[in-house]
Symmetry: C2
Subunit: 454 residues, 2 copies
């Protein structure tokens, strides 16, 4: 009974200080922090560290090959430790002319804060800090120990978070992790796991020039070779033919199948019309789309080019051609092993001359136990604050670095937060509803309380 | 004996008036006539008509859907009629900064005239007019009737010459035709026939957007569909699999095989090094290259594109992709029938959604009898003027509109003229050696004499 009463007091404190939370959010949003263009990063890193200091956390700054990671820690009452992950960098604000108010001048309109980063990810940072500060003000201590890492390269695919976690296992040791956010329609979604990714370029070069196409009878055409090579990798029934590609795919567990069965069918008619598509892949019916979407690895052509691609006619034998290929991977596929499989496949099929170039750090797929303590704590917290069960998505389709925590710290991770589908993250006029920020702070407080009590 | 003596006198006249020929060439070259940009076309058409008038031909100007065609005619002594084809338009002079002297300020250097059009095609026009004028001055008449058509869109693939010839069969009726030019190493080459061409785009569209590639498991990818469609059209052993593609290919005649057997092997080692190629198509040995080059129809990818083709990574499911495909055709293939075969092929293989777009007038392939009177007249003329036999190439690999004369007028056509491989046609510093212009005029005079005597 003490716990219940206590959380109500914490929530009341959050309500009473809601104006302060909005000001805190505006303070962070006023500071540009665009990792792509490196605008305001240093100032933002300092601001974030100062803000964690102010909240009472013991902070450290870690330099990386890219932007610094700010770390904070505060001991709690219970024996449990919760790790928070957020990021202080934001997407570029372009196109700036589409913003109603300037992207780095936070503006309150219709009960929403409009600013780049309002939801992604500064709103999430503030909702968590507001929860911590409410506990400290009302009780003088947290229900559990909190560790907090905030990085500065999330919008550039987080090249540093994997090595950082791997190199700081003791520092970061925890019992569960709450990731940055999850887009919600009404109540927060609990998103578990992620797909991995391998991004490569296949480059074919048959000559140092493009020949006049009257020479097509005697010279090899790089575009044809690339077409033939690709056609050996996946057949038109969408079967990936690369030997070994599926070797490490973990079968779905009975519990995963149970969760999958509950995912409602996609609204195929709506998508067909909206995107003017001929059909879904393999003519899949609506009811089969979720399983295929959530659990299938892919071998996708993200781009292909060669020869003359302008208007009208030019008659050449293409001397160079290339394709960008991204593979979304599922547990327990390994991007490096998949790349090796593709190399072997091309060699075996007579395409040893086609270069396979890794276009950046791959990322591993991961799964997180849908019945873990942190997931259950989030479910209970959601029921307490929002009055209903959160949707659980155990098969993330994006390629976040969630895997690095699961893999290196061996703890479950759940991504959840204040973001709504209408928040326009990454677009002009990004926003966060003030009421969602405050309710999100209460939700975070409830998670801390519930997790501390397990 | 009279003929011999007579031609010597004609040649002597040409020599005596060589300075005049150079001035005539410079007059034409000073007038820009770029069909692509339509610069100077009207002025050039008038200049050419005036020049034919001055030479004593009865001229007419024909308007077309593009640039005017200038026609001239002069009755000769003998019953035979020879048709000349040339063009008064030129390639754009770009890059202008690479020219030693300005492209439209003809300049004499080291015994060469440097100017855009010096060889292609104004030098050829002047060599022919100098021959006509020499006959008229020395003998008061030509050895045969001459008809002369000079068009203004050759550098834009001659869209008007086919319809013009078809619509003026009586006007143009002749016993043989000498085409614009042929690139030579030492003595003029006699080039017969041409390959036809069909130029199409295959366009695939699976959605009105590019999807985030996390959706690759459920949406069709236009690049993949295009790759699969193309891979059904030609296999990696270079076999064209489009049903009906070869139906109309005329078998080689014994005489053609005889001529082919005399074509020397290509210098494979030189080309390998120069173009840094892995190998020739199908690892063909040097001795097999000429036959393959000269007699094979092709299905060539001139360009392919879809999705993201910039630097770095972008993860999308490609919603649109396309390929430019050119087919070089041999006698008696028909571009429209080949296009219909490709359409049927795609439909039959389940690619009915892929659009086949004709990217401009196709052109027919043609063959010209290597033993015809006009070829024999050119051979004899070459021996008289250059002291040796001309190389005969009975299998043109380009796609000139030679076919329109062969098809509509039913007469043999041979392309020959003053152009050397070193003339830099289509490039900066195009030139013509003055000695080649004068010898070329004598060669044309000898052709008129020899053809008139047959």
């Amino acid at each position: 009974m003490r716990m219940e009463r206590g959380l109500e007091a914490v929530s009341a404190y959050i309500d009473a200080h809601s104006q302060k939370a909005v000001e805190d959010l505006c303070e962070l949003c006023r500071q540009p922090s665009v990792s792509t263009t490196h605008v305001g990063i240093e100032e933002m890193a300092r601001l974030i560290q100062a803000r964690l200091d102010r909240a009472g956390l013991k902070t450290q700054r870690f330099e990386t090959t890219h932007n610094p990671i700010i770390y904070g820690e505060l001991k709690g009452k219970g024996p449990r430790t919760l790790l928070f992950y957020n990021h202080y960098d934001v997407q570029p604000p372009d196109p700036v002319e589409d913003w109603v108010s300037p992207p780095f001048e936070p503006t309150l309109r219709d009960g929403h804060v409009f600013a780049r980063g309002a939801t992604d990810n500064k709103g999430n940072i503030i909702s968590r800090l507001a929860a911590l500060e409410a506990f400290l003000a009302v009780r003088g201590e947290l229900p559990c120990t909190v560790k907090y890492m905030i990085e500065g390269n999330e919008e550039m695919s987080s090249p540093v978070i994997g090595p950082f976690v791997e190199g700081h296992r003791e520092l970061l040791a925890a019992d569960g992790c709450v990731w940055e956010d999850s887009s919600s329609e009404h109540v927060p979604v609990l998103a578990l796991g992620n797909k991995g990714i391998l991004y490569i370029e296949l480059r074919c070069r048959t000559a140092n020039v493009d020949f006049h196409s009257s020479h097509a009878p005697i010279y090899e055409n790089a575009a044809w070779r690339l077409v033939w090579a690709l056609s050996t990798m996946k057949d038109r029934d969408e079967n990936i033919l690369v030997e070994g590609f599926f070797d490490d795919v973990a079968p779905l567990t009975p519990r995963e199948r149970e969760i999958l069965a509950k995912v409602p069918p996609y609204d195929g008619a709506h998508r067909r019309e909206k995107f003017d598509i001929r059909r879904f892949l393999l003519d899949l019916p609506d009811g089969k789309l979720p399983e295929r979407h959530l659990t299938s690895p892919t071998l996708n052509i993200a781009g292909i080019w060669g020869g003359y691609t302008g208007k009208g006619r030019k008659t050449i034998v293409t001397g160079q051609a290339a394709a960008k290929v991204d593979c979304r991977l599922v547990a327990d596929q390994d991007p490096q092993k998949i790349m090796a499989c593709i190399r072997r496949h091309l060699d075996k099929h007579g395409f040893g001359d086609i270069e396979v170039v890794n276009m950046g750090h791959g990322s591993f797929p991961s799964k997180s136990d849908p019945d873990s303590d942190i997931v259950k704590a989030c479910e209970r917290a959601c029921r307490r604050v929002y009055g209903q069960d959160p949707p659980v998505n155990p098969f993330g389709t994006g390629s976040t670095p969630v895997w690095s925590v699961i893999r290196h710290l061996k703890i479950p991770v759940v991504s959840t937060g204040v973001g709504k589908l209408t928040a326009r993250t990454h677009s002009a006029n990004e926003n966060l509803k003030v009421a969602d920020l405050i309710q999100g702070a209460k939700y975070m407080a409830a998670i801390l309380e519930e997790f501390g009590a397990t």
